[in-house]
Symmetry: C2
């Protein structure tokens, strides 16, 4: 690995991480200038890698979906159906799944994104089905409920804001506080509780936002 390639790869990674963080903090208003500055690189470095802001966001979406799918596969590989599902939820929430939600409807959904999203739905349905069969997940909760829950928990106002304010001193406590919230939510998914209100949500809770006309899937990206 030459120093030139080493630096370029470090910048690759820094840009992607910065984009994710700034998106989480600023939502759809995230600017490329803010992203480059957060990554500690010049704006030219960003445009040497991505032709447009949209292409960068599409790349982030793909990476996010990859993480989702990997976490789901790992959850399915766990012999304990509850541990598999809980581990998946934790992993997704801590990764920040849902951080890209603000850009829903503002970027074109590529075929790659759609395919990965559909794959993610399928994996999540498998996780949910085997947890139901094992009797370790409340029977009235659906895969879409879980997707929505991950999206809801995946964007942490607490963490995002402390990051934005560069309050690194408070971040460890914030991560811990978030872990407690995740544990509360996971406990709420256990069986033995009065039925949830209303009827299960449909897929249009996601498709309605990302691509009203495409088979986009329900992974929140």
């Amino acid at each position: 690995m030459t120093p030139r390639k080493d630096l370029a790869e470090r910048n690759d990674r820094a840009l992607l991480q910065a984009a994710r963080d700034v998106l989480a903090e600023d939502g759809a208003h995230a600017s490329v200038a803010a992203i480059a500055a957060r990554a500690g690189v010049g704006i030219g470095s960003l445009y040497r890698r991505y032709r447009t802001k949209e292409e960068l966001f599409q790349r982030l979406s793909v990476l996010s979906l990859d993480h989702w799918n990997r976490a789901a596969e790992e959850g399915l590989a766990d012999p304990d159906p509850w541990a598999g599902l809980a581990g998946f939820v934790r992993s997704c929430v801590e990764f920040g799944q849902g951080s890209l939600a603000p850009i829903a409807g503002t970027i074109e959904v590529t075929e790659e994104m759609s395919a990965k999203s559909r794959r993610g739905d399928e994996l999540l349905r498998d996780l949910v089905r085997r947890a139901h069969e094992a009797g370790v997940l409340r029977p009235d909760v659906t895969a879409v409920d879980i997707s929505l829950l991950i999206e809801q928990m995946g964007r942490s106002p607490l963490v995002d804001q402390l990051r934005k304010q560069a309050r690194d001193d408070l971040l460890p406590a914030a991560f811990e506080a978030r872990r407690r919230l995740i544990a509360i939510v996971l406990d709420g998914l256990r069986p033995g509780r009065p039925a949830l209100p209303g009827s299960p949500p449909g897929e249009e809770m996601f498709t309605g936002r990302w691509a009203p006309d495409a088979a986009a899937g329900t992974s929140p990206a």
Copy 2:
């Protein structure tokens, strides 16, 4: 009530509601132009009521804190400690407590805001204490955990985005989906579960964001 006053009051209310919605959708980047447009009024109507954008946001904070405090008092007035707490949490989440979090640190915290926030903390501690004494709330959860939980749930990516995209057709289903998530979370607050991870969060989870130097309280506004 004269037509002139009637219209002016309607515009008052429309502006406040629009400000809340646009803040929820756009975060700290919410523009006064977007707020006025959402309210269906001209920009002059906004500035006739609030001298600056900051004054508008301060007003929103006060109203939000008022809602929190009212909901807590109603919760305390309920003879059932669990129903009181659960009703409070539901009311706050559905009101959208936490929508103002993106402006933390960008506006000056007024004495009025501080006083109401401290009052809100006190009321919440009362709600939590009596639920603990009645054995209906898991013993390891604290008032700060609950504040953070309300903030986490209070901003709904689902609802905010459908609003932003003017997908009114999907909003009823979205509200219902949110109710299910709230129910899951409330179930997770019930006792009889393994202990939560880590130690309870401190007040700096809020004070660190809103006013690092003031006794600002922990209500999320």
